[in-house]
């Protein structure tokens, strides 16, 4: 249906992909949309743009959470639509075929998981880990043969980054996680710092393990319902009262566990290291940090001692 080898041009950035056809008309079917190469080109370029924006999040000092959430939602939306009309699987398969397994950024490795490519081919499209697509990813040519026998050729996968990892199309944690968790992951450690610090440590470790091994989550589970989940049930009021004046914000263990931008996932010893490396610096900081140092020492004791 489409001539082979047709080189497509980047669409004018002024035009946006509009899923629902022209005004007043019902939205074209998924199949019809697939056939509209202009639309899918624009959609792809929007996806690329969004992923680049999310990547840059990691480099900013403090990413704007609202902006990150909105971009991530956009990516999710595109992915959903591409999943529906089948182009998602085509794209992931194509990237899998062109994958260079040896060259992969450590950061990507940490944030995503390896899956069995063969297994992936047979399964429903996995949710997109937005960390995966590095800057410099351009898909220059996508050619689709009709009649079900889709043949995709991808050329010039990445002119910039040889470490492009197509293994990034993985279930696993939604890549946004680390970006946001840099900000502050408090989990349930907000109020009950002393009591639950051990829990928090093990929670962090568990999360690490999930990152590395859990393959159970499907697209639905990660991206399924987008309502706001109600927060965890409020902690025990007695405990809360006991620790109500404990200042939790700066030294939540979850913050420490997840807050390192470039470090790989940490075990307790890494945590210890990073805590101690922060300790002396904190001593020379403003007076507002001084009162929190005792709490920091206490946390370290718990981690190391018990």
């Amino acid at each position: 249906m489409f001539p082979k080898g047709t080189k497509r041009k980047f669409s004018d950035s002024g035009e946006e992909p509009v899923p629902s056809g022209e005004q007043g008309q019902p939205a074209p079917s998924a199949a019809a949309r697939t056939l509209s190469s202009s639309y899918s080109l624009q959609r792809q370029s929007l996806l690329d743009m969004s992923l680049i924006k999310l990547q840059l999040c990691h480099m900013l000092v403090e990413p704007n959470l609202c902006r990150s959430v909105l971009i991530a939602n956009t990516v999710r939306q595109i992915q959903e639509e591409m999943t529906q009309d089948g182009t998602w699987q085509i794209m992931t398969q194509a990237l899998a075929a062109a994958q260079c397994p040896a060259d992969r950024l450590v950061a990507t490795e940490v944030l995503c998981r390896q899956t069995d490519m063969a297994a992936q081919a047979g399964q429903s499209p996995k949710p997109f880990s937005v960390v995966g697509l590095e800057e410099g990813y351009h898909s220059e040519e996508v050619v689709m043969d009709g009649d079900g026998d889709t043949e995709v050729t991808m050329s010039t996968l990445s002119t910039v980054s040889p470490q492009l990892s197509s293994a990034s199309y993985l279930p696993g944690p939604f890549g946004m996680g680390p970006c946001w968790e840099e900000e502050e992951e408090e989990g349930e450690c907000e109020e009950d710092e002393e009591e639950d610090s051990e829990e928090c440590v093990s929670e962090g470790e568990e999360a690490d393990r999930d990152h590395l091994t859990g393959d159970s989550r499907t697209g639905e589970q990660v991206f399924g319902t987008f309502e706001i989940k109600h927060p965890a049930p409020p902690p025990d009021p007695a405990l809360e009262e006991l620790f109500s004046d404990v200042d939790a914000s700066y030294y939540d263990l979850d913050t420490v566990l997840t807050g390192m931008q470039s470090a790989p996932k940490m075990g307790p010893y890494d945590l210890l290291e990073s805590l101690s490396s922060h300790g002396p610096t904190a001593l020379s900081s403003s007076t507002s940090c001084r009162s929190d140092l005792n709490e920091l020492d206490h946390i370290m004791e718990i981690i190391v001692g018990s």
């Binding site: 005004q23 959430v69 909105l70 927060p231 965890a232 004046d245 807050g259």
Partner: protein
């Protein structure tokens, strides 16, 4: 420059004004260039106090500048004075979060004035993490005639003291002092986007991306968390809080808006944690306008109650909506700010302009609403007479006492003279912050780094 300006009588009487009859005259324009400026000079918030006599601005460098309106001239009682700098102080300093290796910006996100109770003025100013209560007081007298001290403070030799006198206060040059009275810190994990003083004048709320806290103005070491939308698993985060405000009259009611275009009204009497809203305001999406950017442009950047408390206004990327608090299903009025941008959303997404957070404001009697746009344009919508106007804040057009000329953006093919085509709009020149005097037709408009003040000129 000193400018004698006139005002519109009807505004003072509380009558509805007709926008088309307004003639906006410049009463304050910047001396600074708009092309070369320091990042620290970028204005990040503008707010009149409750009488309108004072106007506060906050900037990226953590400074607060307060302007004061000159008192009415006795010779010309109909004329109101200009605004001059009254006080400047450094409110916030940059901080470093050692644990996360991140810098905490000193940029002032919001300023809110407290209602005046005595001679001093109080305002709350906040950056991303810390809220401060500032007292601004005047000193125009000082005690003189101490018995034991000389005027310069040195102690007198007791042997020289032969008589006793009572020290008296003598006038001195006016000195305006700003002193921090309270520091409300360490209560926000995420970036604070809003503060709002309660009508009880004892409490206020502060909102960040995921939580809202309630404070007592006297108590700095604890706050109550009243809204928490943080999911148990951060990977499931799809919505953040974008703005929050207390109801102007009901001290138990507040609203908060979200990045998904919803507004939730909460009643603090219902429960301690207001995660369950009393009302949720949301307009169903127009299926004809659906695109990948629909959610982003529906994200609400500002929410403001009307002075009456009966309505609230929200600003999303392309429009301003007025909601009746009694109707949750849709807004009662919608005004298009720059609909011509709808076909440019992809470009605006690419250059990040789509994430710009525009604010909006009501005039004193809730008959007109105002908000900013690009190219240093700002827009006013007259609710009563269904009129709207586009004006520009730029140095070229803002010589003192000059009257602003309405602007028009050409959306169609043929561009008329004086119209500006959409493609020649400067998206770096954005007006995010505007404020309207609570009692008069005086408006403050902030371009990137400059403040303008305009007043409606009596015809």
């Amino acid at each position: 420059d000193c400018c004698i300006v006139r005002f519109d009588e009807t505004a003072r009487l509380g009558g509805v004004i007709m926008l088309n009859n307004c003639r906006w005259q410049v009463i304050f324009s910047p001396a600074k260039s708009e092309y070369t400026f320091l990042t620290a000079d970028i204005i990040s918030t503008v707010e009149f106090n409750h009488s309108g006599e004072l106007l506060a601005t906050g900037d990226k460098g953590g400074r607060v500048v307060i302007f004061q309106q000159e008192p009415e001239s006795k010779n010309q009682p109909q004329c109101r004075g200009e605004y001059n700098v009254y006080s400047t102080f450094q409110s916030h300093e940059p901080e470093f979060d050692y644990l996360k290796s991140l810098e905490i910006e000193e940029k002032i996100n919001k300023i809110r004035w407290l209602p005046q109770k005595n001679a001093a003025q109080f305002l709350l100013s906040t950056n991303d993490k810390t809220i401060k209560l500032w007292k601004i007081s005047e000193r125009d007298k000082r005690p003189e005639g101490y018995n034991l001290k000389e005027e310069d403070g040195r102690y007198r030799d007791p042997n020289t003291v032969t008589t006793l006198r009572v020290p008296v206060f003598r006038p001195m040059d006016l000195m305006v002092e700003a002193s921090p009275r309270r520091v409300f810190a360490n209560a926000h994990t995420y970036h604070i986007n809003s503060i709002s003083v309660n009508s009880d004048c004892e409490t206020y709320l502060s909102a960040d991306d995921l939580r809202i806290n309630l404070w007592h103005l006297e108590i700095t070491d604890r706050s109550f968390n009243i809204v928490d939308i943080k999911p148990a698993n951060m990977e499931e985060l799809t919505e953040v809080i974008t703005a929050a405000e207390f109801h102007p009259n009901q001290c138990n009611t507040f609203v908060y808006s979200s990045s998904k275009g919803t507004i939730r009204l909460c009643d603090m009497r219902a429960s301690a944690l207001c995660d369950q809203h009393s009302k949720m305001f949301e307009e169903p999406e127009d299926p004809n306008n659906r695109s990948f950017f629909s959610e982003i442009i529906s994200s609400i950047s500002d929410v403001k109650f009307s002075h009456s408390g009966r309505y609230m206004m929200t600003r999303d990327y392309l429009s301003v909506k007025i909601w009746d608090l009694n109707m949750e299903t849709r807004p009662v009025e919608t005004y298009q700010v720059h609909e011509y941008l709808r076909s440019k959303l992809c470009s605006l997404y690419e250059n990040d302009c789509i994430f710009d957070k525009f604010e909006c404001c009501w005039n004193g009697n809730d008959s007109v609403v105002m908000t900013g746009s690009y190219n240093n344009f700002f827009r006013m919508f007259d609710r009563g007479y269904r009129q709207d106007v586009t004006l520009e804040a730029s140095r070229e057009n803002s010589k003192p006492r000059s009257v602003l000329k309405p602007r028009k953006v050409c959306t169609g093919g043929k561009r008329k003279k004086d119209e500006i085509s959409v493609d020649s709009l400067d998206f770096n020149k954005k007006i995010l912050h505007t404020a309207w005097h609570p009692l008069d037709n005086i408006i403050a408009v902030a371009t990137t780094n400059n403040l303008y003040i305009f007043q409606d000129k009596l015809n």
